[in-house]
Every structure is written in structure tokens, then in C-alpha cells.
């Protein structure tokens, strides 16, 4: 490590020379800009940052970053990133994926990267649609979604990405919104600072095939009604005047009641709670983002990091025995001829 001060970088230092080719108005533009400026703000270095993506609109992301990058194959980005992260502790490895990429074809890899707690920052751009293949319903599309492959409405029950991540006992789970630059930036900085697997679901508007899917939480007139901002150590209340509150029912599930009636039953948010039960109950408040929906960091706990454990084993083995190739080849029963 050099001791000389490195120059403060700007958003431009993280922008590649490639022309950005998402549809005009796509939510991906806003996320790209926020990621680039956040990286500059947190003092990341382009040479030690790697973006790994799968396939889909959002997976073009690495091409636009002036960092190292891998645009891989459909669904496999978490697995590629795992190999890179485990073998290179000095790197910041980010995964950019979408709802089809991460939850359908790549569901297995996401699950295992989270439960292993690999040191990755995983950004899931959820637009509830397949954009690149021109508009089929995705694993997060609401039941009954009418799209090209579902003219009579989809009949699969959607996944809630935050519930899934919590179910896999991910150590950092958050949700943010493409257009909310400030919130997204805060969440990204926290996700990046977390050691282990950080999972961030980003509601991302697909203007072409699924416009306004998140209008309830992003619309000018509706967002104040519907965004439940999770703030560490604070009571979970929302609405323009804080007039609604989240309380825990006797069965452990959460309900929304008028704040006036809630009294001291209002849930106080604690993302650092070891047990993911409360975080999960919060996630289940809004199975789909069509009404009041929690935004922010659901869970942020410390846990053993896969990369560290893997490297610790190698270090321990190295300390215990020299890398003596001759001794290896001559192991076992030996005899001489001639």
C-alpha cells in the first residue's frame, strides 16, 4: 500500500468511453450515475473494483464502468464473482443482476452466494419484467400479469427478493429505488462497507415494457403515503405526517395501524438483530410494492465471511507444511530401480 495520498476521484473517473445504450428514460441510467458517484465518494479505486454481471438489460452495466468488468452468462454472475473474490481479497467485487437473471435462471447461485456470505456487493435491478427479450413476465411479476407470454395473465406466484435473501440468512439486505439518488447512495455506501455478502434490491423502472410498476412507491403523489423508510434505532412510522405506524401482532407478523392507536407497540427498527425474524416480517408487510412498502436496510449483521475462511485454511496449511513438490511426488511407498 502506498502511503501517498491518492487523488480524490470523481464520477467521471468511473465512466468508461462506451456509449450507454439503454432505452431513453430507463431507470438503469439513474442507478449507473449514482453508483459512479458513490464509488468516487467512498474512495473506491477503479483498478481494484470489478463489476460482474449476468445477462439482461442491467447486465450491460460493467461496459459503462471504467473499472475491471465481466459480462458473463445468464444467471451465473454470483458464481463467477465468488471465484474472483475468494482468490483476490484485495478487490472490491460487485455483482449487477436483474430479476430474471438472479431469481430465475440464476436462483441457485444467488442463494448460495448469500448463504456462504461471500464478500460481494450484489445489486439486483428489479423491474418485474424481462426487458432484453422484449417483455415476458419475470419471477417478480405480480400474479395475473398480462405480457407477451402470458396473454391470459401469469399464474406463477412472484418472489419477494428481500424475503428470499433473508431466508438465505444474508448478512446484509436492503432495498432502494432507482430514482432516489440520496437514498440509493446511502444504501450503496453501507452495502459496500459491509464485509460479507450484501444484497440490495433496487426498484428499477422499465419504461418500455413495464412502465410505472413501482408507481405506488415512486409516484410524486403516492410515495409519501407508501414509502416506509427503515431507519436504524427509530420507530417505523410513515406517511406525510408520520400518521401510520408498523406494529407487531401477537403471531409475530406485522401490521399497519394509525400511529395514534399504536402507542408503545410501534416497532423500533434494528437491522443489527441477529435473528432475521423481525426483518422477515417487515419484508412480508409488502409482498409486492403496490402499497406501503419498506425501503432501506432490513438486516446488517456480522458473520463469518466465506473468503476469509477459505484463505485462512490455505494460510494454515502453508504454515504447517512447505510447498515441497519433490516431497509430494515422493509420498507413499517408494522403490528404486537401477
Amino acid at each position: 500500500m502506498s502511503t501517498t495520498e491518492l487523488p480524490q476521484l470523481t464520477r467521471k473517473d468511473f465512466s468508461s468511453d462506451q456509449e450507454v445504450r439503454w432505452c431513453p428514460g430507463c431507470g438503469d441510467y439513474a442507478v449507473l450515475a449514482t453508483v459512479q458517484s458513490t464509488l468516487a465518494d467512498i474512495g473506491a479505486r477503479p483498478e481494484s473494483t470489478v463489476f460482474v454481471s449476468g445477462i439482461g438489460c442491467s447486465s450491460r452495466f460493467p461496459y459503462y464502468m471504467n473499472t475491471y468488468g465481466m459480462h458473463t452468462i445468464h444467471g451465473r454472475a454470483p458464481a463467477v464473482a465468488t471465484g474472483l473474490s475468494v482468490s483476490r481479497p484485495d478487490l472490491d467485487v460487485w455483482v449487477v443482476t436483474g430479476d430474471g437473471d438472479a431469481l430465475s435462471i440464476g436462483g441457485n447461485h444467488l442463494l448460495h452466494a448469500l448463504r456462504r456470505n461471500v464478500n460481494l456487493t450484489i445489486l439486483l435491478f428489479n423491474n418485474e419484467i424481462y426487458g432484453l427479450t422484449k417483455g415476458q413476465y419475470s419471477p417478480t411479476s405480480p400474479l395475473g400479469s398480462v405480457h407477451k407470454s402470458t396473454p391470459m395473465g401469469s399464474i406463477d406466484r412472484p418472489l419477494n427478493p428481500v424475503s428470499l435473501a433473508l431466508g438465505a440468512e444474508a448478512t446484509f439486505v436492503a432495498r432502494s429505488i432507482d430514482s432516489d439518488r440520496k437514498h440509493l447512495s446511502e444504501v450503496l455506501a453501507a452495502a459496500h462497507a459491509h464485509r460479507g455478502a450484501s444484497f440490495v434490491e433496487i426498484y428499477q423502472n422499465c419504461v418500455v415494457f413495464n412502465d410505472d410498476a413501482f408507481a405506488a412507491v415512486t409516484g410524486k403523489d403516492t410515495k409519501q403515503q407508501n414509502q416506509i423508510r427503515l431507519r436504524q434505532g427509530e420507530p417505523v412510522v410513515f406517511g406525510p405526517e408520520g400518521e401510520r405506524a408498523v406494529v407487531a401482532g401477537e403471531d409475530g407478523s406485522m401490521r399497519i395501524v394509525p400511529t395514534a392507536e399504536a402507542g408503545d407497540r410501534v416497532v423500533v427498527h434494528d437491522a443489527t438483530r441477529e435473528d432475521p425474524t423481525t426483518a422477515f416480517a417487515l419484508a412480508r408487510l409488502a409482498p409486492s410494492p403496490t402499497g406501503p412498502t419498506p425501503i432501506g436496510i432490513f438486516r446488517a449483521v456480522e458473520g463469518p465471511v466465506y473468503d476469509d475462511l477459505a484463505r485462512e485454511q490455505v494460510a494454515r496449511a502453508k504454515a504447517a507444511a512447505p510447498a515441497d513438490l519433490r516431497a509430494l511426488l515422493e509420498g507413499g511407498n517408494i522403490w528404486n530401480v537401477g
Binding site: 460493467p62 471465484g83 482468490s87 447461485h109 485454511q313 490455505v314 496449511a317 513438490l325 511407498n333 530401480v337
Partner: protein, 638 residues
């Protein structure tokens, strides 16, 4: 079993060993009888005695196949000799049958006049029924052609351990399980083998339960004493040491040698080794071996599936590790898309395929060579990938290093084909001089500086190898993005231009073709230099083909042999060599896959011989095949 001295039948010295040139012994029993272990130990004893040897373990796919049935029989064959041998032997001279099922399943293979040692304790009516025997083979006269030795292996074992059972040191069941050591002791005596190494090994293996270790040693000795004191065995035998090339030797299995080769390559390249794998028969032992070698800077990652296994390896390759993934046919099918990705990324990667019977799950524990076309052409799009094959257990070490050399020099995924037979069988291996191994550190250098005025061009190629720079993350100024989309030249930027796609496709082929052009000359085995018949094989058929060709030459036939290590690109000398011969014969354990490639590429009418019964070729079988297909062309005079 070929004798060098005629056995004397005088009773003066009943147990003076008869000297043999070679012998084939097969241990057969229930899956739970420890036959693989018994065979392994006898192999080590033969190795320590300086014999050349080849083994053939054969076991059922089920971990606990129904006990006592023929389906549940596990066997281990060992061919050991005082001269250079290439196969596990066609027919055993000695068969050890632990139960009726083992006897019925394997007696057909025994040489006429051969010895069969049967555990007579297991021949009750129930066992006979389970084995599917109508009558008791020990009584119905079906064994008249053989020398039958009825030994109460179970009862002798229990009697040996009477005290231990009575004292409560071990259960009757545990005691009974030692009976394979009785068989080993008896056979060791029969072939005049010292057992010290086995005793030492037992004490090490059961270090945590010394009672078990001593019980096994006791039973082992009891087997030897039984042979020595009973008059049942007329002869003992001795197979003197073979005249192997001078050097230090050990026995090694294909999977072990392959793992060692990967580690050696990484060490010689000065790189960490990353192995991503998902458990699959018969490749898992490569992962197991590598997991024990972390002190060589080896990271093993047992992935969630086959795709994640190769994907993680690709990630590690981008990060600057020597990356490998090992699997078998069904797993390779799953990895196919990712191999294509590594091909367009142009990153070094070794993909090991330990082939087994297919299609689909097929025959997991049986050998086959049927993934050749999958390796050579089995990908979407034009995605040429070099393919290297393993010829024998010991050769797996060299083949692994060669695969790594190609991967590192040319920045490409390389398929390394082994098979179930090579993976599990063992042979004496002359331990190579570490300093003489190829220096792979010269095969590549990480890029450290920009290669264009003010930018880095990740696809600017070396004019000789056409390899692109390997620039690993962490290097300032060389930030670049790889992707599966078609690339523009030099910059690697996305390009959808049709003419460029054609040019890049041609270039990717040229890249791989050049590997062939830079190989040393093809090794052709033709001692007289005037053969008109050429046998072309690849992979593990090397042993049986060499043995067959040797026999034929002894009979005055003229026949040449080429065993291909490089299957893609095929060695550029091969076509010319084929044209020099009137008849080209290609025996394979598949339905003619190499023959198809050779015909397509040379328009020479290769004569194929194919068999896929899950077992390697017999040399006698190939002698017949070459005689039949070679015909007049084998004659001494033109």
C-alpha cells in the same frame, strides 16, 4: 501366468516358489467386503517388489448394492510382471471369490487351469439363492477346469479373533470384516510377498483404534500361516522385479497423478491454483486430492453445481489464478455454455473430463471414451477449444501439465480428457525430476503497462501465439471489460458487424490451429519403419494397443502405432503419417468418434473398431481386430 521354470512336483521342497514372468489376480466380493482396498494393498506389495503392474478396479455404481447379489459384486484386477506390460491382463490366473455371487460373476473370466480361492463359509443355501445359483458350483462339477481352493475365510477370521471378541474389544461383526486381510495374507504368501508395508499401513490407518489395527495384522498373518501350514496349496509363486528404466518409483492412480500434475503446473508457473468442482463419479477424487494440497497455494471450492464450479474458475482465472474445474460427461454438458464464455474471454482454464459411460447418467462407474466429440465440437457457435488426452495413470501427470501449458501460453480453455479406467487404475510411476518439469513461468506474463499510446487494448494479440494480454484486476491503467458478446479487434468493444464477426471467428480458429503447428513432431512407433498398417488410438487405449502391436510384431507382422495426446487441434503431422500407410485402424471405446474426425479431416477411409461395454480393450481382442482389418497389409513382404 507364464512360468520361467517348470514347477517341480517333487515333494522334497513343496513350497519353493515357482518363478513366473507375470500373473493376473482378481479379487471379487461384495461391495462391503473391502475388495478395492485389498487390491490396492496387493498392488503396493507388487510395486515394492519392483514389478511392472497395471490394475483394473471395477465396482457397482450403487454405494450399497444389494448384498450377496451379482449386481453388488466389486472386483479389483491386478496384472504384475517382470517385464514391461501395458494392460491389466486379459484373463486372471487367480481368482479370489468372497461369496457365491463373486464366483458366479467372475469364474467365466478365469484362465483354464487357473486357481480359484473361495470363501467356503459363504456358500449356504440362502447365499446361493441370492447369487442366482441353481446348484452349488462347488458341488455341481462346474469348476472341474480350475484348481479350487476352498478356504473358510470367515470362520478362520473369527477363530483368529476369538479372544478379542470374548474380551469385548470388538464386535463379532467388526471381527468378520477383517476377512479380506485373511485373503490378502494368503495371497501374499502364495506370491511370496513380504507384508511389512501392509502391516505398517494398517497401523497407520487404524491409529485411532489400535485394537482394530492389531486385529487386522493378526488376521493378515493368520492368512499367511494358513498357506504355510496347510498342504492344500501345491505351489507358491514368485514374479521377479521388472527391468523398468532406472529411477525412483511409486504406484499412482490416474486421478491422483492428474491432481499432482495440476499442482506441479501451478508451482512451475508461480501461480496459485484454483479448483472449482462439484462432486461427480469418477472425477471427485481430483477434488479430494487437491483439497489436501492447500499448502501449495491451492484453493478448492466445492460449488453448488457444475455451472458454478466452472464459473468460479473463470472468475479466478480473471483474477490471475491457474484455474481448473474437473467433472465427468454429464457435468461437462452443464459447463458447456461457460466453456464458450472462457473461449471468447480468451482466459486460461483447464476443464477436466473424466469420461464414463453415457448417455445421460449412463454407467457412472464404467469407463468409456464417448465424450471426445463433446470436447472437440460440443459447444454453441464456433468455439474451438484445444483437447488433450490422458494415456495412462502416470501419463495423467504429464497430460495435466501439457493442458496447463497450452492454457497459459495461448490464453484459452483446454479440455483434458481422462476416463474412468485411467482415473481409478494404478501403475508404477517413475517419479519425475522436479527441476526437469517444464518451466511454465515463461508461458505468460501478466500485463503491467498500457500497450497503446494512451489506452489499454485487451485484445491486441501476440503475433506468434495470437494470445491476448492477461491483465489482472488491481493493475492501474489496464481496466477493461470482458464479455460474451462479439468483439471488435484490439479494443474488445462490443461489435455487431457481420464482416467483423466472420473475421473474429476465423481468427479464433487460427489461434487454436497454431497450437498444433507449434507442437514437437508426432511420435510414431514403427520399429522397422516399413509398416503398411497404422493403428491410431487416443487416451487410455494406449496400453492394450501397445500390447497388441507388440504381440503382432512378435508374430512377424508389420504394424505402426500412433497414440494421440492432442485431439484438437489434431497433430498436423498425422495426415501425412496416415497417407504413408495402406490401412489405418482406429479402435475406440465409443462409436467411432475419432474415426469420424479423421475421415472428415483427411478423407482417408479409417477402419473403426468400437466397443462400449464399460471395460477397456483386451490386448488379445485387438490382436484379432488388427489381424482382421489389417489383412494382407500386415504381411512381411509387399
Amino acid at each position: 501366468m507364464s512360468a520361467t521354470t517348470t514347477p517341480s512336483t517333487s515333494t522334497g521342497e513343496p513350497h519353493r516358489p515357482v518363478e513366473l514372468h507375470d500373473a493376473v489376480i482378481r479379487f471379487a466380493g461384495d461391495s462391503g467386503d473391502g475388495m478395492q482396498l485389498t487390491g490396492d494393498r496387493f498392488t503396493t506389495e507388487a510395486g515394492l517388489a519392483g514389478n511392472d503392474l497395471v490394475t483394473f478396479p471395477d465396482y457397482p455404481a450403487e454405494i450399497r448394492a444389494p448384498a450377496g447379489t451379482q449386481a453388488g459384486v466389486s472386483s479389483f484386477q491386478l496384472h504384475f510382471s517382470d517385464h514391461d506390460i501395458h494392460t491389466a491382463g486379459d484373463a486372471p490366473d487367480v481368482l479370489v471369490a468372497m461369496n457365491p455371487a463373486a464366483l458366479l460373476k467372475h469364474i467365466g473370466a478365469l484362465k483354464p487351469g487357473g486357481t480359484v480361492i473361495v470363501n467356503v463359509d459363504e456358500f449356504d443355501e440362502r447365499a446361493l439363492q441370492k447369487a442366482g445359483a441353481m446348484t452349488n458350483p462347488l458341488e455341481d462339477g462346474s469348476l472341474v477346469d480350475f484348481r479350487v481352493q476352498e478356504v473358510g475365510l470367515t470362520s478362520l477370521t473369527l477363530r483368529t479373533l476369538e479372544a478379542e471378541i470374548a474380551d469385548g474389544d470388538m464386535t463379532r461383526k467388526e471381527a468378520e470384516r477383517c476377512k479380506n486381510m485373511l485373503a490378502l495374507g494368503l495371497v501374499s504368501w502364495m506370491f511370496s510377498r513380504p507384508m511389512d508395508a501392509t502391516e505398517e499401513w494398517l497401523r497407520e490407518k487404524f491409529a485411532k483404534r489400535p485394537v482394530l489395527a492389531e486385529a487386522n495384522v493378526k488376521v493378515l498373518r493368520s492368512g499367511r500361516n494358513y498357506g504355510e501350514t496347510t498342504e492344500a496349496f501345491a505351489f507358491t509363486y514368485e514374479v521377479p522385479a521388472a527391468q523398468l528404466p532406472p529411477g525412483r518409483y511409486r504406484t499412482i492412480s490416474g486421478n491422483q497423478a492428474l491432481a499432482y500434475g495440476l499442482v506441479a503446473a501451478a508451482q512451475r508457473a508461480g501461480l496459485p491454483l484454483f479448483a472449482g468442482a462439484y462432486p461427480i463419479t469418477p472425477a471427485s477424487d481430483i477434488l479430494h486430492e487437491l483439497a489436501k494440497l492447500k499448502h501449495f497455494d491451492v484453493t478448492t471450492f466445492q460449488a453448488e453445481d457444475e455451472i458454478a464450479a466452472i464459473a468460479s474458475a473463470i472468475g479466478a482465472a480473471f483474477g490471475g489464478s491457474l484455474a481448473v474445474t474437473a467433472s465427468s460427461g454429464p457435468g461437462i454438458a452443464l459447463k458447456t455454455e461457460a466453456i464458450g464464455l472462457a473461449a471468447i474471454y480468451e482466459l486460461p482454464l483447464v476443464v477436466v473430463d473424466v469420461q464414463r459411460g453415457g448417455p445421460s447418467t449412463g454407467l457412472p462407474t464404467k469407463t468409456e471414451q464417448s465424450d471426445l466429440l463433446q470436447a472437440v465440437v460440443g459447444r454453441n457457435g464456433e468455439a474451438p477449444v484445444p483437447v488433450v488426452a490422458v494415456k495412462s495413470p502416470g501419463d495423467a501427470f504429464d497430460a495435466a501439465i501439457e493442458a496447463c501449458r497450452i492454457a497459459l501460453t495461448y490464453r484459452t480453455p483446454v479440455m483434458l480428457l481422462s476416463d474412468g479406467y485411467t482415473a481409478n487404475s494404478a501403475e508404477p510411476w517413475r517419479i519425475p525430476d522436479v527441476d526437469g518439469l517444464p518451466d511454465l513461468s515463461t508461458a505468460f506474463a501478466f500485463a503491467t503497462e498500457r500497450n497503446d499510446a494512451d489506452r489499454f487494448l485487451p485484445y491486441l494479440r501476440d503475433p506468434g501465439t495470437l494470445a491476448r494480454p492477461w491483465a489482472v484486476p488491481g493493475t492501474p491503467g489496464l481496466e477493461h471489460r470482458l464479455g460474451g458478446l462479439e468483439k471488435a479487434p484490439d479494443t474488445g468493444a462490443i461489435s455487431y458487424d457481420g464482416a467483423n464477426h466472420h473475421a473474429q471467428t476465423v481468427l479464433r480458429h487460427e489461434r487454436i490451429t497454431r497450437i498444433g503447428a507449434q507442437l514437437p513432431p508426432l511420435d510414431v512407433d514403427d520399429p522397422t519403419g516399413d509398416a503398411d498398417v497404422l493403428v491410431v488410438g487416443w487416451g487410455s487405449t494406449d496400453g492394450p494397443i501397445r500390447a497388441a502391436v507388440h504381440t503382432l510384431r512378435g508374430n512377424g507382422r508389420r504394424v505402426a502405432h500412433v497414440q494421440l495426446t492432442h485431439l484438437a487441434p489434431i497433430h498436423p503431422d498425422l495426415e501425412e503419417v496416415m497417407r504413408r500407410h495402406r490401412v489405418v485402424i482406429c479402435p475406440e471405446n465409443n462409436m467411432g468418434q475419432l474415426a469420424l474426425l479423421l475421415r472428415a479431416r483427411t478423407l482417408i477411409d479409417v477402419k473403426a473398431y468400437d466397443r462400449v461395454t464399460g471395460a477397456p480393450f483386451l490386448s488379445s481382442e485387438l490382436v484379432d481386430v488388427i489381424e482382421r482389418l489389417g489383412g494382407d497389409a500386415l504381411e512381411g513382404e509387399r
